[in-house]
Each structure stands twice: as C-alpha cells, then as structure tokens.
Symmetry: C2
Subunit: 276 residues, 2 copies
C-alpha cells in the first residue's frame, strides 16, 4: 500500500494547515503519510501549479490526496478545490458563522501569523533571554525571569525554555543541577532566593540513559547507574525543597511547555474569567 | 464595547485550537479579544468547570464567547457544547470525511502533538545544534548544518534558527557579519567554503535602528547612520557573493522561516511529487 499523499496548502506560511491537519491525522494511527507543504500560494498561477501537483499525486498513487487548506481568496480556492484531492477547508467552514456572530461581512484577506506588534517584540526578546540564560548562564538576570527550569543534564530544559519564549513570550531561564548539588542535597546558592520561580523537570532513568548515550556513548555520565542515581536524588531534592516538578519521560516539548504553563499559572489560563 | 471572550479548549496542549483560532480571528481586524486557553480538559469534571467559565464570561460581557475546540471525547464535547458559547469544532467537522476516505471508523483518542519518535528526537537535536552554533560559535560543525543564516547584528538570525530547529528539525547555524567584513566587502574565512549553505537576512535601516535602540539606546551601534551604512553594505555583499537573501522588515519569525524553507528547498516542499 502506498503512503497517502497529504498536501498542506496556504496563501501564507502553511503553519495553521500543518498544525490542524497533523492533529486530525494523529486520530488515524497506523496509516502512513507522505506530507508536502505548499506555502505562499497567492496567485492563480501558483494555484494551478498546486492543482497539477495534487492531480499528479492522485494519478501516481491511485488514491485521493488529502488537501488541508487555509486558502482564503475565492478564486485561488476554487482552482485548488477542482483538483482530485479531498479538500478540507479550515477557513471557509468557520468564517461565515464567525462573521454572523460579529455582525461583520467576510472580507477575505491573506493571513498573517504576526499578531500584535508589541506581543511579537516580546516573544523575540524572550528568545534572547532564553538563550542568554541557558544552562545556568547569567543568573544575575533571574529577577526578570517568569520561570526558572531546573533538573539534571539532558532532561529537556533547554528546548522547553526556547518553546515557552518563542510561542508565549515567557521569560524562561534554566539551571542544571550537577553531581555536587545532588550529593549534598541542597539547592545551589544562585537558586535559593528564587525558589518561587523554580520548576523541576524529571525523567525516567532509562530514557535519560538513552538520551545521554547518543551524546556521549559508553561514558560514566551516560551510564544507567549514574542516571538512576541522579534521577533518584533530584526528585528527592525537589520534594525536600517543595519545588513543583513534572515527569517529562513521555512528553513532547509542546506538552511539557503547556503543562508547565497550566501548573505555574503562566500565560492565559482562564484567570481573567475566574469568579472571585 | 467589551472585548470578546475567546476560549481555546482542548483535551491536550491547546496548540492546535490556538493556531487555527488565531488564524480565523486575524480575518476580523479591528475587533478586540480577550483570549483564554483551557488545556488538558480530559475529564467530565473539568468539562463542567469549562462550561461554567464560558457561561460566566457570557454573563459578564453580555456577548457569546467564541469557543475554539479540539475536544475529541464525545461526552466531554457534549458538556462544553451546551454552554453559552459559539462552539467551533475543529475535530468533529473533519474527522468523519477523513474516516470515510480512509475507510476506517472514527475512534476518538486524545491527541498527541508528539508525532514520530525519530522525527521528534531530530528536532531536539536540531535545537541543541542551533544554540551551539548561535552567533558564529562552533564553525567547525558547519559540515552538519542544513543552512547558515548570515546578516548584520539584530537582523533576526537567532529566533529564525531556533524556529527552524524546533519545528522542522532543520540544522540552522548563524554567523553575524561585523563592521570589518562590511568595510572590506568580503566574506569571513569561516563562511567561504560553505557558500552553498549561506542565506542572508536583510532589514530596513529604520527598523534595525529601532531594534538596536531598545538594546543599547543612544549608542553608535544603534544610530540610524550606522544602521544605514551596515544595511547598504551587507546587501551589496550578498549580491556580490550571490547569496540569496530576504528582507525581513515586516515579517514574523514564522514567515521568515517558511520563506527560507521555500527558497532554499528545505523540508517538505512538494519535490516528492514534482514531475521529472
């Protein structure tokens, strides 16, 4: 059986089409897909090229390609819709009910992921902050941090900080706990006065062993014994210091980030509408 | 007029609901919104709390909250749907046509953004690569780079590298061009043998001036004159060395990243199905 062709198509970045299409496809585990993203399809010429590509994929595979679309221009949509794909239209289906509710006309305009200027600047500043405060660097700027992730080496702190910054403008620093901290079972000096901002990441020793082995195969650092020791100690330390922590063994960086936001009440978490 | 309440609701991270909801709302510029994300709504108790919050927002504002949902469990969906919001259902609407096409039953399962294990590991490795190769560091690992971004200081290289890594597993390094390079109009030694991997970012002098002024107000570095000089020189250098470049002045990091992928033919760009 050939893999099913998946076409994400957009007049802009294609990120929305990819995100929601991917979510839908995870509901069908076991199937195999061949994804293609057609971005910036913003002219009739490009729309015809896209339609040709969809038809070509259909003929080659003998199966309807699945087309996830966020196209908004009517003429461009029409051209792509008339190809041999199964057309899933994320914009049109929802724009009309929204327009009705807002009592506004639907005036298609090519989307921008940019959003508000100030919010965007803040995200970029947060990315710089995350990089500058990676791996225990620049603890002197912890006053500006919204959150400080801590845990053993390779428990996922860095990607999580970067994700929180890039997507939510959260100022996230990270500080690695090293053997000395774990032996003495006390928090490093730099962290003591920021206990309220600390959040721990833990991970199974098996998984940590596998991750570290990729980086430094056959080292003491990557050995299962060492990983077991560090994980046991770090969790005991988190409990002793009453630091909230999360076991990230089976989580993606998206899941880790959003769990942290929920638990640490960062970002938009419904507080605005909470009854007093 | 009160801001309209927007509720993103999900049994998982909420990222899909946020992404597609945000795309739809950008079609209605001029309206103001008060967004809230309710994540990990995976029990009937949490569903009832969510419905209460939606009803509370409706009463407080006298307007229907807009509910963008990726909930999949029928009973949880039912509870939330019966609140006083305008319920926009991203999953249900598309799952049935997909299931019909795949000739499979719809078996709701709570979504994971994780995707395939190997692909995920690759993204995390790419994040480490981006951080290690930020700002001209570790040029010795440029052999492993898929792309090397270059340009003047503060032209957006770092967030773009991080985005490409985190979302697409692209190994992206970045190297800043400094005054000396711009005066002499030649590429730094480290870059010469990687010309095929280079991609330039440019930006308007005005915008660069504003960005640099936030960081170092009233410095020579941030002065409009200096920015004008650097931008003029860097674009001349890109042209002289035949390096593709992009003017990122009005672009978000998502737009910059996807434009680069399109131009440099990185990631899934339709090549699989291109006729020979």
């Amino acid at each position: 059986m050939m893999k099913r062709a998946i076409i994400y198509i957009s007049d802009s970045t294609g990120i929305t089409a990819e995100t929601v299409g991917h979510s839908l496809l995870t509901q069908f585990p076991g199937l195999e897909f061949e994804p293609v993203t057609l971005r910036f399809v913003d002219s009739e010429l490009k729309a015809r090229e896209a339609a040709e590509l969809i038809n070509f994929a259909a003929e080659k595979s003998g199966q309807k390609p699945i087309v996830f679309s966020t196209l908004v221009e009517p003429e461009i949509r029409r051209i792509v819709m008339h190809s041999q794909g199964l057309f899933m239209d994320f914009m049109q289906q929802f724009l009309q009910p929204l327009a009705d509710e807002f009592e506004l006309p639907v005036r298609p305009s090519v989307g921008h992921t940019h959003g508000q200027e100030q919010q965007y600047e803040n995200r970029m500043t947060a990315v710089n902050f995350a990089l500058e405060s990676d791996d225990g660097l620049r603890t002197q700027q912890y006053d500006r941090a919204d959150i400080i992730l801590t845990g053993v080496s390779r428990s996922g702190k860095t990607p999580t900080c970067v994700y929180l910054a890039l997507h939510y403008g959260i100022f996230a620093a990270n500080y690695p706990l090293v053997e000395e901290d774990l032996e003495n079972m006390h928090l490093p000096e730099h962290l003591k006065k920021y206990r309220q901002k600390l959040f721990g990441l833990s991970i199974s020793a098996d998984r940590l062993h596998r991750i570290r082995s990729e980086r430094r195969p056959d080292s003491e650092y990557a050995s299962l014994r060492q990983c077991q020791y560090e994980v046991r100690q770090v969790e005991a330390l988190f409990r002793q210091c009453q630091i909230s922590f999360l076991d990230v063994t089976t989580m993606s960086v998206e899941e880790i980030s959003t769990h942290i936001m929920t638990q640490a009440r960062l970002g938009h978490n419904g507080t605005t509408f909470k009854k007093p």
